[in-house]
Symmetry: C2
Subunit: 550 residues, 2 copies
């Protein structure tokens, strides 16, 4: 052994620390159960200054009882925490930084809190580690962001500590796994304690402490879009996408981002798609949350399967009644799994279709606009060409645009945008705001959501740019200009170039796709209101009050 | 609802079918327990012709009792199965195709069976769906390859049907999840039935049928490399990698492929790495199976954490005794998780370092050689630049090689190869055998393991080509030629060009890295035999008999 010195350190520091901390709350526990009146005391005894704490702010589900409790601990006792959160969603997620309880954060998405995040960075009350996509944040939980503490939410527990997470399983198993199997402490808030669980989603061996919350965890209906607000421009773009992309390339499996553009596509499948004879040929398999706007396509037999990242408020009964389509458990209710759905959405589908707020002349896009550091969420995991992919599908092969013995296909990455945002801000811009924001926030690279060289198609109300066909950056730019309307980028438009690109198939206008702009009517939508969606669902869809207008 | 017709089909066909099939074996079951003498009868009753069957042929763990049983069913009753297997490892995995029990296969890796796979494709006894990486195969289980039946292996079950998968958890939870939550039938072979499990890895709600196998599942020691076989050329390459890549770019988290090259690196950290003062600066976090050759680096305090895809035979006690480093469960034994480790290995580490059998002049590489369709395994998931990644690390940022406001870093993808394979076959070739094999097998694209434009560094016994610095394909080719020795590619070598590339940092020879070739001695290895590894481990490492020479 060449006289090399072995280290004399202990190999069980994490395990010993965990045991010592749990011993301190022993008098508060009955088995794994903690009375909710003791939660603040317990957190003060279980957490140490500087700990890495992963707090479940999911996309939809929030461990709101635990985040409120964390916000009440004494900053004298607990300070300098390194928070890890996929989503910064609630005020107290940031309050803890102002109080000094926490110091640094690694996160994926800031959503509603993006403005305050930017301000707090400027004020230096919040120190950013890195901004991630979901999958890379989950990955780091097993590499260099291993948590000491997990604060998560489940629907139900039994007295042994087994958990039922039901429809909103989301990222709970992933967070718990990284913590529980590295001698971290797993604290779970549940809505109720029951004798027997409908099914077990997480075994009690992975859980240390259960507390029944004073009220159910917060859950947001993030993926519900009211068809009443879908415009005829969006319908036009949806028709172009179905005709010029899904049909043309045989897109059989896909992910849709959130928004009215993709909701319009979902609602046109049973009408316009049916008329084109595409049923059974496109859009059969989905990596998608249970969008209510998917109901008509399901009910009319278009959809073979949907795997979900999370649940959606109001869709519980509907998904439970359609187990041939959705993944459900032994109890009959939806099973979601964010990590695996992101993996599937990255590697196993033909196409990602999303929207954005800004696109530059090279096709780079971002949802970061001045003063708002909103983060990435999961879109970049799906909105890129996964170069680790090796299997082929017709759509993937259809993207090959070179003569090379080793040529490989590409994933379809589609951006659907109107050339101007509401408020008359151009979407196509000379330079992304993200560049300025990156400098202000002091992050190493500009927060680009999707890079131009990963985008295969851009759809606007003007037409489709088939960017995957561009043989050079100049061709890519020219194709973008052709569909960018009267934005600064669109004004570079050159009539002769555009005609040539239409002939070469780099650009298609509605007429090139045999679509008349006057066809794009709201009457084409399979459902024109939330009430219609409820009717399509045979009353199984139960929309939240704010979506009810009848 | 515009008069669109709703489908009148049942929404519970899978659930009904599952219930009907399980009812047929009711008389054979005691709870979920099936006597192993009934397994063939049970499979004949549970499986239907044409079913999608996912059979656990993991990288290491094999559901060998179930695969043998499947090979014994009547082909009159069960035929035309569509098999899904991450690894084709055992003879009966292919015998079932010759008997007509199965017809089509989607897989990731063929390993020892690669020659027979190629022959059977030629003979048309085996129909290939697609060849995948692990993550894309797992992804498709939730999209368009949803299993009807899962045949998997666990260590232990309790009478309720909860499972203990222990150190070799690997892909079992992923396979089961895709099946159980889409009303498929989950059949598990276990080594033993116990009163109380050491911990629960998979809850009984996910399992339908448990059978105690006649002998423990097959488990291969795939990741064990005997240090006796490490050559001085490999030590030289390992020194260059540590100096010219890990130190230069501050590589803190990484994945190593299988092989003697990377084993040499692992064994040089406590000696050569120590001498360079790199402890605590490089190689702290790993996505890696528990390689025995990692023991000296762990024991001398180099390694902070290791997350594992699977276990390794003989490393059970050692990993259990080092919970600060390895992920372990409440029972103290290793927890592995193939899917999450692949995600971490893709998105959360600085570098992937692997080896290959052939590299062409553009840097494309493949392990497919004439007559052997070996598949991909997980290497491409880690051996590419994950364009969905958004967080930065020093090593990632160090790969930026352009002036652009939106410039982003890259993952380090390192290929370590000697210029000639054993048998005197050149590694650097004009054209990959994969191109011919693809044509013979009728697959749509040539099976390239790692594409040239994803490779950042190639290390040979001649030196390092820093391919990420190449500004054009021609520069990339020239840098490769400079390190390709006397192979057909290396013979294109141009002395003047090479000197310029050394000055520009595109190429480094050992002397450019202050490494004398004569330093590369076996005496530098922290362990020079398996016995040394056992000694380093304080007797906790228990190598399989075939690795014992004392």
């Amino acid at each position: 052994m060449s006289g090399i010195k072995k280290t004399s350190k202990s190999w069980t520091t994490r395990r010993d620390q965990k045991a010592a901390r749990l011993a301190k709350i022993d008098h508060l526990l009955k088995g794994k159960l903690l009375g909710n009146e003791h939660i603040i005391e317990a957190l003060e005894l279980l957490i140490s200054p500087g700990d890495k704490v992963v707090l479940e702010g999911d996309n939809q589900k929030q461990a709101s009882f635990l985040s409120k409790a964390l916000n009440e601990v004494s900053a004298d006792k607990i300070h300098g925490l390194h928070m890890i959160m996929s989503s910064i969603s609630r005020p107290e997620h940031l309050d803890i930084f102002e109080k000094g309880i926490a110091e640094k954060i690694d996160f994926s998405y800031a959503g509603a809190q993006s403005l305050r995040v930017s301000q707090m960075i400027e004020d230096e009350t919040l120190k950013i580690g890195e901004i991630h996509t979901y999958l890379e944040l989950y990955g780091r939980l097993f590499i260099d962001l291993i948590p000491n503490i997990a604060l998560v939410a489940a629907d139900k527990a039994d007295v042994q500590g087994n958990l039922y997470t039901g429809a909103n399983t989301e990222e709970t198993p992933t967070i718990i796994e990284a913590t529980a199997f590295k001698d971290g402490i797993v604290i779970v808030q549940v809505n109720e304690l029951v004798e027997e669980l409908p099914r077990v989603d997480i075994p009690s061996s992975w859980v240390d402490c259960i507390v029944v919350a004073d009220q159910p965890y917060q859950l947001e209906a993030l993926f519900t879009r009211d068809p009443r607000h879908i415009t005829e421009l969006q319908i036009l773009m949806a028709m172009m996408t179905i005709r010029g992309i899904y049909e043309r390339h045989s897109v059989q499996s896909l992910n849709h981002g959130i928004g009215f553009n993709t909701a319009a596509i979902e609602l046109l499948l049973p009408t316009y798609g049916e008329k084109l004879g595409l049923k059974g040929k496109i859009c059969k398999h989905w990596a998608l949350n249970p969008h209510p706007t998917l109901i008509p396509a399901i009910e009319s037999g278009w959809i073979e399967s949907v795997h979900c990242f999370g649940g959606e408020v109001g869709m519980e009964q509907y998904t439970a009644a359609r187990p041939d389509v959705f993944f459900t458990g032994r109890d009959g209710s939806l099973r979601s799994n964010r990590a695996m759905c992101q993996v599937a959405g990255q590697y196993a589908v033909d196409a990602f279709v999303g929207s954005t707020l800004q696109i530059d002349g090279e096709g780079n896009s971002s949802t970061v606009t001045s003063g708002r550091l909103s983060g990435f969420g999961g879109a970049p995991n799906m909105g890129h060409d996964p170069r680790g992919r090796r299997h082929s599908t017709p759509a993937w092969l259809d993207m090959i645009n070179e003569q090379h013995e080793l040529a490989r296909g590409r994933k379809l990455v589609v951006q659907m945008v109107e050339t101007f945002q509401s408020g008359n801000e151009p979407v196509f811009v000379e330079s992304l705001d993200a560049i300025k924001v990156a400098k202000q926030a002091g992050v190493a690279t500009a927060p680009v959501m999707i890079y131009g060289d990963d985008v295969t198609h851009v759809v606007t109300e003007e037409g489709i740019a088939y960017l995957y066909k561009a043989q050079s950056l100049d061709e890519r730019k020219a194709a973008l200009e052709a569909v960018a309307g009267v934005t600064p980028i669109g004004l570079r438009y050159n009539q002769n170039k555009v005609e040539k690109m239409r002939r070469d198939g780099l650009v298609a206008f509605p007429e090139d796709l045999q679509i008349r702009r006057t066809e794009a009517k709201r009457s084409l939508l399979a459902a024109r209101s939330v009430e219609d969606l409820v009717e399509w669902s045979d009353g199984l869809y139960n929309p939240p009050a704010k979506f009810r207008s009848w």
